[in-house]
Amino acid sequence: MTVIAPQSGTEVEVGVRPGGGWLKRRTRRKLTASGWTTVTFALAIIMFFPFLWMVLTSFKTEGKAYTTPPAFVFKPSLVEFNGVLNTAGSPFLHSVLATGVSTIFVLCLGLPAAYALSVRAVPQWRNTLFFFLSTKMLPYVAAIVPFYMLAKDLHLLDNVVALIILYTAFQLPLAIWVIRSFLVEIPRELLEAARLDGAGTFVELTRVILPLCLPGIAATALICVIFSWDDFFFAYLLTSTRAMTVPIFLMGFVQSENLYFAQLSAAATLASLPVILAGWIAQKQLVRGLSLGAVK
């Protein structure tokens, strides 16, 4: 405010345009606005187009998928979806298990930890908080050798349990930060009032804190699900057939000599669908989660 004020005097002189012109100012502004809206939508559609193309291709038959120029009008078919669904069962089950169980673990570990770093904070809360975040910066590729060796020794290679442990550890820092950002927003007076009414820690947790940080739990669960569901690195290196997850399953469509555009697109569409729907519905939680709680 104060920075602009001194300049504003001069800018009034310079900035005022002669009124009138061939278009009234209001009309001109309206035109500019609809121009911007058009440009915004044009760019949004360009960004969206590769995904749309994937979905379109998934409704083609294999023959229609390889055409030059690309076919935009065709008779939709569910043949490829049928083919994919016949084999996608167990990869989906593994992905759901690894993602779901690790997300539950993350919440069970993260919620109390966030509480101990905010509401009834330990003295070193700031350092602890940054310790958790620093683990997120560790290049996990550096640890892939010991992870692999440990998994082998513990008979956890090609086992969903290994993925659950790793996903829990790698999403936990995000969860603690996001949940904590909701906990620090709870007014102190509310907690003190609950205390005065004789609420013990348990009642305080379940009746006061939990309901107030439900959106936080939703935001946390959403980003945990996204990042765990998306993982390719650990799933590729630590599993093969018995614990194969969805992203690895997708690779099966390109490794053979022949490419299966339509089948791959159908599988990729199915693989992305859960995350896309969740993200579309919970956009507000998505921003909050991705920014570790900084963007409200």
């Binding site: 390889y66 570990l109 290049p139 892939i144 936990l172 569901w229 998306d230 390719f232 690895i248 697109s265």
Partner: protein, 330 residues
Amino acid sequence: MSVTAANDEVQVGRKSGFVSHLHRRKNNTGIPEMSSRERWSRRAPLLPALIFTVIVTQVPFVLVIWYSLHGWNTLQPGSNTWVGLKEYRLLFSDPLFGHAVINTIIIAGCGAIVSMVLGVMFAVMLNRRFRGRGLARTLLITPFLVVPAASALLYKTSIFDSTYGLLNWVLGPFGVHHVNWIGSHSVVAVVMVLVWEWTPFMMLIVLGGLQGESVEVLEAASVDGANAVQSFFRITLPHITKYIELALLLGSIYIIQTWAEVFILTQGGGGASGTATTNLPYYIYQLAFNQFNVSEAAAAGVIVVIGTEVIATFVLKLLGSLFADTEVLG
């Protein structure tokens, strides 16, 4: 910093009742002093998460150091013996290691910066009131939500393909024909996919910052005759700088670890050297899983961790000040 200061006060407080009385009300953490029983009851809910994190994320790194001091190649039985720093010497004499460092900087740097520029652009466009704004935002965030492996496969088969790819078809009228994007423009191809995936991430955080901007200030500027460009650079940009930094830092944590896109699109190839897209994650993967050279991979891991620690100390400090501004660190 403030934590150590507070601990000092606790120490002093124990020695003398008078000083303790002075400091009892408030120390730098904003938490009153407490008995050790109180401290442990506060720590209890934290411990499961802390112990789990230490075991899963720190112990393997200790093991990495151990492996790196051995000459272990899983193809050579009996090679698992102590060799001291030999693997580190081998690593530093491998020119590919240096290339991998540079490739990582190029790929992650270009990916992060281009997606940030586009992200700011989209965020500014979405920060107006217009019909269909929610739809436009939904369209724009979708690339982030597509499973990365699916994105990479989609680009490889349907976009970059030299015969059937959409990109050559779109660029056809401009005289571009049968370009093998993945083969002859590998770095561009990988960066393009990264930009497509990460632009929405940057956009969402910057948009969140923009929406906290006061409309009055902008309106005042517009009344004062500032045009859109002036008010963007003088008012909006300074306001969202910290959100841009925040998004860049948080995004880089992920972008720098890019592995799936390289693995699926180029297998580390490209360029005159044939290794233009071999970034550090892919380099370490190749050492460990293609050459079975566990110890050299571990040595590379140790070096990468040390490098990351140096950068992370700086990044965490910056993040600390950024989060202090946004009041997450109450």
